[in-house]
């Protein structure tokens, strides 16, 4: 049976879907106020265009597709506003991971986790969520578009008006920091 949008009682949408949408938004924006705003905008936009809901997907899928667009809008806007901060970050001071010869300062620790097992590791996911929140904003925004929204390099460069080589450097930094943070907080907590 196809789902239909209940015209009479949009309140029930909120009871039913607000947690899912908020959780989704929070994982991308790491910020309560922005997450609340996009969720509200999503419900309003959905309400205004409810006649266009075809019932070919679930209501939740439809709401999330609206939400995703709004999240990319927010990230684009934040990124424009933070241009100066971003250019500063390009020159990283001392290298915390490698010595002057380009050798590892600290050997990467084996996480004892294999691809395909991550879903079962709830603690790993919790630490990951915390580590994403600790990334500098400019790196986090790029990383979210690339790895959570799964946009490709070209799409991100278009959205944020940056060059591909700049994007790759920043993604590299984000990954290095995240693996450092995960090693510290997950492995050592065990």
């Amino acid at each position: 049976m196809k789902e239909t949008v209940n015209n009479e009682n949009p309140e029930r949408w909120v009871d039913q879907y607000a947690d899912v949408l908020y959780s989704f938004a929070w994982s991308r924006l790491n910020n309560r106020a922005s997450a609340e705003d996009v969720v509200q905008e999503t419900f309003l936009a959905a309400f205004r265009s409810k006649d266009k809901f075809t019932g070919n997907s679930s209501i939740q899928t439809w709401l999330i597709s609206i939400l995703k667009n709004k999240i990319v809008d927010v990230i684009r806007k934040e990124s424009r506003e933070a241009v100066t901060e971003e250019t500063k970050e390009v020159h990283e001071p001392a290298d915390q991971f490698f010595d002057r010869k380009g050798h590892w300062r600290v050997a990467p620790a084996d996480w004892k986790i294999h691809p395909g097992q991550v879903l079962e590791q709830k603690e790993f996911m919790d630490v990951l969520s915390g580590c994403l929140g600790h990334l500098p904003d400019n790196l986090r925004r790029l990383f979210v578009l690339r790895e959570l929204e799964e946009l490709n390099s070209d799409e991100i460069c278009d959205e944020l008006e940056i060059t591909a080589s700049n994007l790759w450097v920043m993604l590299y930094r984000a990954r290095m920091r995240l693996r450092g943070c995960l090693t510290e907080n997950w492995l050592e907590a065990k």
Binding site: Y22, S27, F47, E149
Partner: protein, 85 residues
């Protein structure tokens, strides 16, 4: 000769684009010799997979919307509904 720092950058880049054949061979060769970079390589792939799982995992919400925010949204929707009538 590429050092570990170069290799770590290339491994990250290889998630973004196809590396030239020569570079791919150099990375492969380095990985054969260097157990630290092998661990880094594995971590990079686990990280991508974990983050993508995390991003898709909204069926079971990890956070609940604060009650006051939910109320605000209901109010906004009610106002919207009224203004349409």
């Amino acid at each position: 000769m590429l050092n570990c720092k170069d290799i770590s950058k290339l491994i990250s880049e290889s998630l973004e684009k196809d590396l030239p054949l020569r570079t791919r061979m150099a990375v492969k060769f380095h990985l054969m010799m260097c157990s630290m970079c092998r661990i880094y390589y594995k971590q990079t792939h686990v990280l991508r997979e974990a983050v993508r799982e995390y991003g898709r995992k909204h069926e079971a919400p990890i956070k609940k919307i604060p009650a006051d925010a939910a109320e605000k949204i209901k109010q906004a929707l009610a106002d919207e509904q009224k203004s349409n009538h």
